[in-house]
Symmetry: C2
Subunit: 209 residues, 2 copies
């Protein structure tokens, strides 16, 4: 196997060309307004399943872009996703990204109440001022907590990027968000991850740059 010489600044462009070509070869045509985002999820995972499993509520892309332009806060459920989000571009739009998973008060409350830290993190995020975009790449319990607050009319998330990965309740938790009128981007099935959550945020941020 030979190395192909590609200039550092051209690697990403070349990767997206390769993804586009392989999608063509597979006979898959992505929706025009969503291709930039779906391709970035594929770029981050080398997994073409994302061409088939990403779900967008009606008008999701326009809505989340509006929120980002208004300086919405992104809340993640892992420090990994937080690390992966391009905070520089987010700051240019007036937004910031937060993660409460490592907070001591969250750990204590989770233990006391028999909940996951992810669930308690969501409740903490619900007390923030202003619109929040939830970028969930790990914990289905975060999505369950958001749905519970929504059902009780305690809180309505402005937007949910719901791409937790895993085995226990992951598929069901994603459907719990799809079954509401909360604007969302969800990866149906088991796959996802902190990397995918960050990639979706970055795809949106780069489209606004």
């Amino acid at each position: 196997m030979e190395l192909e010489y590609v200039l550092p600044g051209e690697i990403e462009k070349r990767s997206f060309e390769m993804i586009g070509k392989e999608l063509d070869d597979m006979g898959i045509t992505l929706p025009k307004d969503k291709a930039f985002l779906i391709k970035r999820a594929i770029h981050t995972t080398a997994d073409f399943d994302y061409a088939k499993t990403l779900y967008f509520s009606d008008g999701a892309i326009d809505r989340v872009k509006e929120l980002l332009k208004e300086g919405a806060t992104i809340v993640t459920d892992t420090n990994m996703a937080l690390a992966g989000i391009n905070k520089k571009v987010l700051a240019e739009l007036g937004g910031k990204a937060l993660c409460f998973m490592a907070d001591e008060d969250v750990a204590k409350e989770a233990k006391d109440r028999g909940l996951t830290r992810a669930a308690v993190s969501m409740e903490k995020a619900a007390r923030l001022d202003g619109p929040v975009i939830f970028a969930i790449g790990n914990a289905p319990t975060a999505l369950v907590a958001l749905r519970e607050m929504y059902d009780k009319k305690d809180y309505r998330p402005s937007f949910v990027i719901g791409v937790p990965v895993g085995f226990v309740n992951v598929e069901a938790a994603k459907e719990l968000i799809i079954d509401t009128d909360i604007p969302c981007i969800i990866n149906r099935g088991r796959k996802g991850g902190s990397n995918v959550a960050a990639a979706i945020c970055n795809a949106l941020l780069y489209s606004l740059r």
Copy 2:
């Protein structure tokens, strides 16, 4: 789809049971000494391909565990992988994790020399004192840089966890490490990621806890 009630502290255990059962159903028996690590890669991605594509050099698991017990430094090629590694367990073993990707000197040198920041980061890591475990989840150019230093006999990495993801030169760069006598764990093919790099580090760290 119904939610299954699982105690927060039991979710990971239940996930690993589900992974074990599905591997059984697929007729896949993992090598006993490597199952803990392969299962964690699957747990992080919900992708059973990792049961087939992870490559281990002879004695790789023993070697990397020894290095971790000796307090080796882990160097990553993304701040995401750095964020995902359990630094608490690593510190208990006397080790630390570093990432030079956001360093200004690295950015400047990469620009001046027409290299990727990942490549220059590897050269910076090669100047560290003591053994270094490279945990590469993103940039094939990091693996190419390590191979170049090895070929010139400038530097010999103590261990390489080589799981970059992507399209341009990713497969070839992985084979460049497999073709040396550097002890390594490599995910053959295009798949991998910062999440997988961190998961492999954590599987090893948890096995030593």
